[in-house]
């Protein structure tokens, strides 16, 4: 296994892991309690 596979394979695992782990949590307060949020329901 070369550096290419190690680096990009590692990046893939970390990125996917971050999504699968952090994706379960609600966004921070600064994100949720804004006045200029996209109004998905309004449209």
């Amino acid at each position: 296994m070369g550096w290419n596979e190690l680096f990009f394979g590692g990046l893939m695992v970390i990125g996917l892991g971050a999504f699968l782990f952090f994706g379960r949590f609600r966004a921070g307060k600064t994100q949720r309690e804004r006045q200029d949020k996209i109004r998905w329901r309004k449209h």
């Binding site: 990125g15 998905w40 449209h43």
Partner: protein, 260 residues
């Protein structure tokens, strides 16, 4: 074009999966029982399922290509995957209540196409597929963290910008596709010159920013207690964007490698 007209023309999200009326028929979210409501964890799990399904069929066509070394051996699967995926995507968009069935089928179909396409790129540029996958999922993870932490704050103007850019790119690809039937094409789309690479970088950036809109939609839908089937719909939308991002990164890397 006024802001209102632009939104009417292109839809309310950069991602065509998130049409404006997605929430409308489900205006009584609050009346849904807690067990029947969409959750973030449910959407993440379903995205994981779709990714695994896509990987399974992608491995199938990948192995056929490298087993035979003949592109013609996978071209049938490639077209089945592309056309089948397109039909299933439209069914999912217009009948999102069916997403629990159509989204997994879409992932399986797209896997057939992606496996074949990836294998052809890999045969020409060894090591390119792992690079594209690493960059795609790396982008997914980084943008998710940026969104969750509030570093990127999507607003109506942000959405309008992404919608307009995505619509423009889609139109350009459509024109190029039609011109292909007459033996012509828009040169810079496929060129490995500076302009061609700049165009690919722009498209990759727009595809990546579509992920932010996906996150925002999913977050908002879960926050509002949308029905459970929208978990599959949200996962499907993320898959559409991820597949687009992966293919654009693959094209960008191929352009860069072809200059050597």
């Amino acid at each position: 074009m006024s802001k209102h007209n632009a939104l009417t023309t292109f839809g309310r999200s950069g991602n065509p999966m998130f049409r404006g009326e997605v929430f409308k028929p489900d205006a009584t979210f609050a009346e849904t029982e807690a067990s029947g409501r969409m959750t973030l964890a449910g959407t993440v799990n379903k995205t994981g399922i779709l990714l695994v399904l896509c990987l399974v069929t992608a491995s199938f066509t990948w192995n056929i290509f490298f087993g035979t070394g003949d592109p013609a051996a996978v071209s049938g699967f490639l077209w089945i995957g592309l056309i089948g995926g397109l039909i299933l995507a439209f069914i999912t968009i217009f009948k999102r209540q069916w997403a629990g069935v159509t989204a997994p089928l879409y992932a399986l179909a797209q896997g057939l196409a992606l496996g074949g396409i990836s294998a052809m790129f890999e045969a020409q540029y060894p090591g390119i597929v792992i690079q594209a996958m690493g960059l795609t999922f790396g982008t997914l993870g980084v943008l998710l963290l940026a969104y969750k932490s509030g570093l990127i704050k999507p607003t109506e103007n942000f959405r309008l910008m992404i919608v307009a850019a995505t619509g423009g790119i889609a139109l350009l690809y459509l024109v190029s596709f039609v011109m292909g039937f007459f033996g012509s094409s828009i040169g810079f789309i496929h060129s490995n010159g500076l302009f061609g690479i700049g165009f690919s970088l722009f498209v990759v950036a727009i595809a990546a920013l579509n992920l932010v809109l996906d996150f925002d939609f999913i977050e908002e839908a879960a926050e509002q207690g949308a029905p459970k089937y929208l978990e599959w719909y949200g996962a499907f939308s993320l898959m559409v964007t991820l597949i687009w991002l992966y293919l654009e990164i693959l094209r960008l890397l191929a352009k860069l490698r072809s200059r050597n």
